[in-house]
Each structure stands twice: as structure tokens, then as C-alpha cells.
């Protein structure tokens, strides 16, 4: 009998099929009933996937929703970018610069111009890529739709941009020709923006700050820092009459001129002043004094042999041992030194930019410990507490100092000899540069021994999270660093809630439908078995076992389910086509309102068949209880 098992495995389905064919009206009713459940569920699932996914992709997967924007401009270091870029969930991070430094003029064909924002981008920028634009390379840009419209260019055209700056009271500009490699869709924002590689943006910033961008042939300064001062002490052999005094500062950039006592002058300069000289203090409140101011006053006072000594207030240097000390600054030529009753200084007269960099980092160290004490800062002078001070000041390795400022500067001062005054004496330009470094970022390049202006640096960032779920985490992490950031947290949560709600709703309806469908199958198959009691009994009588007969309703259930699935998919296909056609106007070419992902078809089929099997189990159990001896005899 074992040899017939496989035969029976085919026989039962054949009998079931024969029964379904014979009772075709009943079969049709069952298929219609199940189709009435499955087809709407397929359409519902298709709509959920199509609509919600379309919305999701439009809204949720819009990179804008994954962006975390800093709300304040503040400096960020290269290290910070390296660190944050490595955080999990960070898909893209690029530095940005000061908004004002990233504005360029776009020159149209008719020579009219308008101002556009320049936004740095880099490889992998999701905002560009997900909006269908390539990431621009060297000399390439991507425009927003509005920017393209205003500038009248399209992909493939060349875009002329002009970068302008004001330097020394004159307006200057340079032009660049950039290739438009992409235009973003209107949906990607209505601002007039130009996306360009970070390197180009940095060049624009440099040029605007007055520097050259050698790579592009843009002229400008080298990045030497300029000295700035709190004021100038004017020393004259003859006093100025009040009228001359007032006229002297007109158009020099100084706002105030006041006669001061010798003591006051000595306090400002940290130098002894010969009694025969008359001292005036020239300054402008809250505004630094630069070389051009000094030149201007010098010109005004030509003939009176003015001695102009710039000063810097409250400048402290920190010694290697951590103690602060105050230097005096003086740069004068030999003749001027003589007028001050001082020996000449090795670095000579005032020069805003010194060819020989080492002249700047020089110092004359006081030998007189008493003088140090007199100066009131002696005990703070760092070296004084060192018993080897005398040997050290003459040593070639110099004096290591740190200047606290905007960025802390560490450098080595060469001691060129003894100070003629009680304070350590340094070139006034050094003090001026250190004063500038308190407001502006200045770096000391040890290799060249020069100070350099640092670029304004990175003042912001463009950060995109890898997925929506990463946004809240990154948001918290940046906030923990004390950064004010803005992210579409609420919108994300709203959309996620909407999506979650729609999914739950679908499953609720699906559950209801599946329950209904299963109930239909259970009842129908049970009734079918009941109607077929006699015939199933005969089949048993003819030599099939209970197990084989139990298989009969299961096979019927599967066949009905399979037929219903086929009809349902057909109905779904027809309806989906109608739905998609009728909404075609509101959809992008590759978008569909009703779309069933192919990955879901197998699960749907398997689930339906499984449920049909489960539903048939009741009927199968019923069929095993049929006793042939009870049913072969018509009562």
C-alpha cells in the first residue's frame, strides 16, 4: 500500500478538482466571495504603498527633512568636522563659511547682475543627488531652479560670476566662468542658490577678505597680519596750540587728541620719556589704530618732527612657567632713539611688514631685577623667578611664550641683549600683531617664523543624517555639544506618526478582511464537506484512509484560494491602472498612486494559501469523522 501513497497524493487533488469543476457554481460563488475580500485588500495595500510611499518619498525622504542646520554662526575646527563626520548616522557633512562671505554676483548675458548665495558642496551631497543633480566638480556649479531662472541659464551653459571686494577704499572684482552641470527642481527650494565645491567657496571668501587666490589668478594680499594699536603717543619738542591740535586729527581716523603728563605717557608706553618732550594721546574709542592712521597724522604734522609711538594696552604674555608678564614695545630708528635718550633698538624703525620675519620675534631682556620689581610686574615676569634667568636670556634657544587671544599663539622670542628700560622690550609691531590676534584669527607658522592671518574659518556646516531615524539622535548629540541646531524634528515625528497610523489602519482593515475571508472559507469548506459526507464516505469505502480524505477539503481550500488570488490580482491590476491613469496629472512620470511592491506578492500569496489551509483544517477534521458505514446507506 505504500507504493500507492504518491498515487493517492495525486488522486485526492484530482478528485477535489473534479468536485470543484462539477460544482462550478458553488466554486464560482466561493471564488467571488474570497475575491471580494482579497482584491480590495490588494488595492488598499497598493494605495497605501503607492500613496504613502509617494508622500513619504516626497516629504519624508526629502533630504531637507534629514538636514540639521546650525542656527548660529560660530567657528568650527577641522578636527570637529573630522570627528562629527565619523558619527554613526551622519550621511554628509561639509563646512560652510560666513554667509556674507559667500555671496557672489551673477552676470547675465546683458551684463546685469544680481546677488546669489554660494553654498559649498562635496561628493555625496544628498541634497543634490536626491534632487537628481550631480555634485559639481572643479569650475562647475549646480543651480536652484530660481537661480537658473533669474540667471537665464540651463544645464550645460556657462555661468559668469563676479566676486567683488573693497580694499583700501577701492572697489575691486574678479570674474569666473563656471559650467552649470545641474539645475535642481523647484521642489528643492525657491532660494537663489549656487552650489559649488568647497574649494571655490573658500577662494571667494579669501578674495573678499582681501587675499589673493593664486590658483585662480585672483590678486590680493598675502595673509600677513597687520598690527593694530589702542592709540598713539605723540611726542613733540614744542607744544601744539589747541587749534592746531584739533585740526591735526581731522581725516586721520583719530577721534581724540589729548595732552597727557609724562607719567601718563610713560604708563602707556612702558618707557621713560625725556622731560623736554610734550606728550599727547591720540586714540579712537573702540576702534583699533592702524598704520594708515599713523601715516596720516605723520603727514599732518610734517615739519613739527613728531615722534609717534603706538601703544597697546593690557597685553600680557604667558611664560613657559605659566606666569604672565607685560612687554613694552618700541620700534624707532637711531635718530628717534636718541631723541628718547635711548640706545638704538636692533630691529630699527616701524615697518608694518618686515621682510626678515625673525626681527619681529625679538626681545631685549631687562638685566636689572630691581627694575623689574619697580615695574610692578617683575614678580610676574616668569623668568625672574628662575634662578637661571640671566643665562637663559642670552641663550640661543630663546624664550617660549604664549599669547592668549582669539586663538592662542605660542612662539619663541629671541633675546638680542639687555633691555635699556625696566620692561622687556619688543618690537611694537609684534605687540600690534598680538593685539590684532585678540580680535582676528592669527596663526604663528613655526617653520617660516611668520605670523599669518587665519582664514575666517568654518562658521557653520551642512549636515544630513543617513535616515530620518538618525535625525533626533544627531540633534540631541549636537545639542549636547552646546550647538544650537535646527532640525525638522516635529515634522519628522508628525510624518512618522501619520505613516505609522496609516500602516496600523491598513493592518486593522487587513485583519478584518482576513478574518472575514477565513470565516468564508471555514464555513464554505465545512459546508462542502458536510454536503459531501456520503461521497467522502464512499471514497473511504473504496480504500482511502482518513488522512487522505482529510486532505480533500485542504486541497479544495487551496484551489479556491489560488483561483481567488488569480482573479484578485487581475482585478487589482485593472483597478490600479485606472487609479494611476486618473491621477496621472498629479504624479511624476515614475510615481504611482497605487503600486504593489513585487517583494510583497510572494508573502501575500503564501499568507492567503496558509490561511486557506488553516480554514480547511476545521473541515478536514470534520471529514475524518465521517464513518463510511453510516453514510453508504441512504436512510
Amino acid at each position: 500500500m505504500k507504493t500507492h501513497r504518491s498515487g493517492h497524493a495525486r488522486l485526492v487533488p484530482a478528485l477535489a478538482a473534479a468536485h470543484l469543476r462539477h460544482d462550478w457554481i458553488l466554486t464560482l460563488c466561493l471564488v467571488i466571495a474570497l475575491t471580494a475580500v482579497i482584491a480590495p485588500l490588494l488595492v488598499l495595500l497598493g494605495l497605501k504603498h503607492g500613496t504613502i510611499e509617494t508622500l513619504r518619498e516626497r516629504l519624508v525622504e526629502d533630504p531637507v527633512y534629514r538636514e540639521l542646520r546650525p542656527t548660529q554662526t560660530q567657528p568650527y575646527s577641522e578636527d570637529w568636522f573630522a570627528q562629527v563626520a565619523a558619527w554613526p548616522g551622519v550621511a554628509f557633512l561639509t563646512p560652510t563659511i560666513l554667509p556674507l562671505s559667500s555671496v557672489v554676483q551673477v552676470v547675465r548675458a546683458d551684463e546685469t547682475t544680481s546677488l546669489f548665495d554660494l553654498i559649498p558642496t562635496a561628493a555625496g551631497d544628498p541634497f543634490l543627488l536626491e534632487n537628481g543633480a550631480p555634485v559639481p566638480g572643479e569650475n562647475e556649479v549646480v543651480l536652484t531652479a530660481e537661480a537658473a531662472r533669474l540667471s537665464g541659464v540651463a544645464v550645460g551653459d556657462r555661468l559668469g560670476v563676479r566676486v567683488s571686494r573693497t580694499r583700501g577704499g577701492r572697489s575691486e572684482n574678479v570674474q569666473a566662468e563656471l559650467k552649470v552641470v545641474g539645475v535642481l527642481p523647484i521642489g528643492a527650494g525657491t532660494l537663489t542658490r549656487i552650489y559649488a565645491p568647497l574649494a571655490f567657496v573658500l577662494d571667494v571668501e579669501s578674495y573678499k577678505e582681501g587675499y589673493a587666490a593664486a590658483r585662480r589668478g585672483w590678486p590680493g594680499d598675502t595673509p600677513d597680519p597687520y598690527p593694530s594699536f589702542d592709540g598713539v603717543v605723540l611726542l613733540l619738542d614744542e607744544p601744539l596750540s589747541p587749534i592746531v591740535r584739533t585740526g591735526a586729527i581731522i581725516q586721520t581716523g583719530f577721534a581724540r587728541i589729548g595732552e597727557i603728563t609724562r607719567d601718563q605717557a610713560e604708563a602707556l608706553l612702558g618707557l621713560p620719556i625725556p622731560q623736554r618732550l610734550h606728550a599727547y594721546d591720540l586714540s579712537t574709542p573702540n576702534t583699533p589704530i592702524t598704520q594708515s592712521n599713523i601715516r596720516a597724522i605723520q603727514t599732518k604734522l610734517r615739519g613739527r618732527e613728531p615722534l609717534l609711538l603706538p601703544y597697546v594696552r593690557d597685553l600680557e604674555l604667558i611664560g613657559a612657567d605659566g606666569r604672565p608678564w607685560r612687554p613694552a614695545g618700541l620700534s624707532v630708528d637711531a635718530a628717534q632713539a636718541a631723541r628718547l635718550d635711548l640706545p638704538p633698538v636692533p630691529w630699527g624703525g616701524f615697518q608694518a611688514r618686515r621682510e626678515r620675519a625673525e626681527e619681529l620675534t625679538s626681545v631685549l631682556w631687562p638685566t636689572d631685577a630691581e627694575a623689574n620689581a619697580d615695574s610692578g610686574v617683575g614678580s610676574d615676569m616668569g623668568l625672574d623667578s628662575n634662578p637661571d634667568a640671566d643665562t637663559r636670556q642670552g641663550a640661543d634657544d630663546g624664550i617660549v611664550v604664549t599669547s592668549p587671544g582669539r586663538t592662542e599663539l605660542s612662539f619663541v622670542l629671541r633675546s638680542l641683549g639687555p633691555s635699556p628700560v625696566s620692561e622687556p622690550l619688543a618690537p611694537i609691531e609684534l605687540l600690534g600683531i598680538l593685539r590684532t590676534a585678540q580680535d582676528r584669527a592669527v596663526a604663528y607658522v613655526a617653520s617660516s617664523g611668520r605670523f599669518e592671518m587665519q582664514r575666517a574659518g568654518y562658521r557653520g556646516f551642512r549636515l544630513y543624517a543617513a535616515s530620518l531615524d538618525d535625525v533626533p539622535r544627531l540633534y540631541r548629540r549636537l545639542r549636547e555639544q552646546g550647538l544650537e541646531v535646527d532640525a525638522a524634528i516635529e515634522a519628522i515625528e508628525r510624518i512618522q506618526a501619520l505613516d505609522g497610523g496609516a500602516t496600523r489602519l491598513f493592518w486593522l482593515i487587513a485583519l478584518l478582511g482576513l478574518c472575514g475571508g477565513t470565516a468564508v472559507l471555514v464555513a464554505s469548506l465545512y459546508a462542502a464537506v458536510d454536503r459531501l459526507r456520503a461521497e467522502l464516505g464512499i471514497i473511504r469505502l473504496l480504500g482511502l484512509s482518513r488522512a487522505h480524505v482529510a486532505f480533500f477539503p485542504i486541497v479544495e481550500g487551496l484551489m479556491i484560494a489560488a483561483l481567488s488570488l488569480a482573479v484578485s490580482f487581475g482585478a487589482y491590476g485593472a483597478l490600479a491602472t485606472v487609479i494611476n491613469r486618473s491621477f496621472a496629472n498629479e504624479l511624476a512620470p515614475d510615481e504611482r498612486f497605487c503600486a504593489l511592491p513585487a517583494s510583497l506578492i510572494a508573502p501575500i500569496v503564501l499568507t492567503t494559501l496558509l490561511l486557506a489551509c488553516l480554514a480547511a483544517l476545521v473541515a478536514a477534521w470534520r471529514s475524518t469523522n465521517i464513518d463510511p458505514s453510516e453514510v453508504v446507506r441512504a436512510d
Binding site: 468536485h19 460544482d23 464512499i538 473511504r540 469505502l541 480504500g543 446507506r633
Partner: protein, 255 residues
């Protein structure tokens, strides 16, 4: 066992009880045998348990107790201990015996409504796993006068035709034992006589043993080799007992 001497079906002291708590029916079979090629009639009034006995032999009803219940087919050694199979509840083995050795003609034909006549006749062959040539099927059908309705569904047949098809189906797969439960109950006498004659002719030709239940012995008196009848006893208001007893001379009784 020795050929010719071992009965095909042997029942000894078999009891079948059926019924609920308030009313019981007990069938006792002290001794019953069916030999190869024999036609055995089970005769009695309705309710005497003759159909119950037939279903016991047809292996679709379990005996309540059995001292001896064997089925011995030619060339099969010691035969099958049916009592043991029932005791074990070996559903598969019993089903196998049904499809291998038995043919059953139900009272009302018992054709499957959703299969054509031809498919109905072929069904036991398919279940058994043997083939039945179309020609052989048609020859048999011709003999029973149902050749023209082979491709119809059973509901399109007359009752007589259905019974003939049922007979055809019961023997198509080459069983050793044919069981018939009042196969002619629904037919008038001449027609019934003809159907029974056909059945007997086929059984004879194929050397089948036949057990036929009837309350109308004269219809087949001429064919019967052995007959059993039943003695009904009313034990109480609700208890009835029926004991199967061999009729010494069936043909004489009828006469």
C-alpha cells in the same frame, strides 16, 4: 493454510454493540465463513443487523469484540488477522485491504456525483493503483448495458443503470470479495432479477466470493451457496440482541 480449505472470511464469536445508553442493539456472530467462489446470502427483516454484519465484513465497521476474524486471500500465507488490525486501529492497513481485495455495492449505488460514470468505474482502479484498459471497461459496460452512459454524470442515469454501474465499479479493480447491500432494493422485481443475474455471472466469471444482503431471498435463491439469518431477542424494553445463524438449506427454505 491449505488451499481450498481455509475460508476466505472466517468469523468466530464476534460481537458488535451499537446504540446509546437508553437503547442498545447487539449483534452476535458465533460463526460465519465465506469460501472462495461462494455466494453467501444474509437474510433477515430490517433491523436484524444484516447490514451491520456486511459492514463488519467490508472492514468499515469495527467489531466490539472478536475471538477470530480473519481474511484469507489465495496465495497469501496465513491471511490477515482483522481482529488484531481493528484492535490496533491500523486504519491504513484496513484501507489497503479494502482497496486491494474488496468490492462494495452500496444500496443506492454510492456513485460520486462529481465524476462521470467512466471515472466512477475507474476510481477503485486508481485508488488501488492498477490500470483498466478502456476496451475492457467498455466490454464490461456493454455486458451490463451501460455502455452508452459511460460519459454521463450519475444524476443523468436511471436507478437501474446506477446500480449496474455500481456493480461494475465494485468489480473493476479485480477484488476477491464482492459485498452487496440490497443492491436491488430500489428496483422492481424483473429488473432486480436481471441485475442480480448479471452480478452473479460476473462474480462467477471472476471467481469472486459474494456476500449479499437481502430480505428477498427468492430473487437470488438459485445462486446462493450458503445463507445466514438472524434471531432477534428482545432482552428488555430497550435492549435487543440479534444472533446470526446459518440456514442449513437455503434453497429449501425459500422453496
Amino acid at each position: 493454510m491449505r488451499d481450498g480449505q481455509a475460508p476466505m472470511v472466517r468469523m468466530e464469536s464476534i460481537v458488535k454493540r451499537r446504540g446509546q445508553a437508553d437503547s442498545g442493539f447487539e449483534l452476535r456472530v458465533p460463526e460465519l465463513r465465506v469460501d472462495t467462489g461462494e455466494v453467501v446470502a444474509l437474510i433477515g427483516e430490517s433491523g436484524c443487523g444484516k447490514s451491520t454484519l456486511l459492514d463488519l465484513i467490508a472492514l468499515i465497521l469495527a467489531p466490539t469484540s472478536a475471538v477470530q476474524f480473519r481474511l484469507h486471500l489465495a496465495g497469501e500465507g496465513a491471511g490477515q488477522d482483522l481482529a488484531a488490525l481493528w484492535a490496533r486501529g491500523d486504519e491504513g492497513a484496513l484501507a489497503a485491504l479494502r482497496r486491494e481485495a474488496l468490492g462494495y455495492i452500496p444500496q443506492t449505488g454510492g456513485l460520486l456525483s462529481f465524476l462521470s460514470v467512466r471515472e466512477n468505474i475507474r476510481l477503485p482502479c486508481r485508488i488501488k493503483g492498477v490500470s483498466l484498459a478502456d476496451r475492457e471497461l467498455e466490454t464490461l459496460a456493454k455486458r451490463l448495458g451501460v455502455a452508452e452512459c459511460l460519459d454521463r454524470k450519475p444524476h443523468a442515469l436511471s436507478i437501474g443503470q446506477r446500480q449496474r454501474v455500481a456493480i461494475l465499479r465494485a468489480i473493476a479493480h479485480g477484488p476477491r470479495l464482492l459485498l452487496a447491500d440490497e443492491p436491488t432494493a430500489a428496483l422492481d422485481k424483473p429488473r432486480a432479477r436481471a441485475v442480480l443475474a448479471d452480478m452473479n455471472a460476473l462474480a462467477c466469471q471472476q471467481h469472486l466470493a459474494v456476500v449479499v444482503v437481502t430480505h428477498d431471498l427468492d430473487l437470488l435463491a438459485e445462486h446462493v451457496d450458503r445463507a445466514y439469518t438472524f434471531d432477534l431477542e428482545r432482552l428488555s424494553e430497550s435492549e435487543t440482541r440479534s444472533t446470526c445463524r446459518a440456514l442449513d438449506d437455503a434453497k429449501r427454505v425459500i422453496a
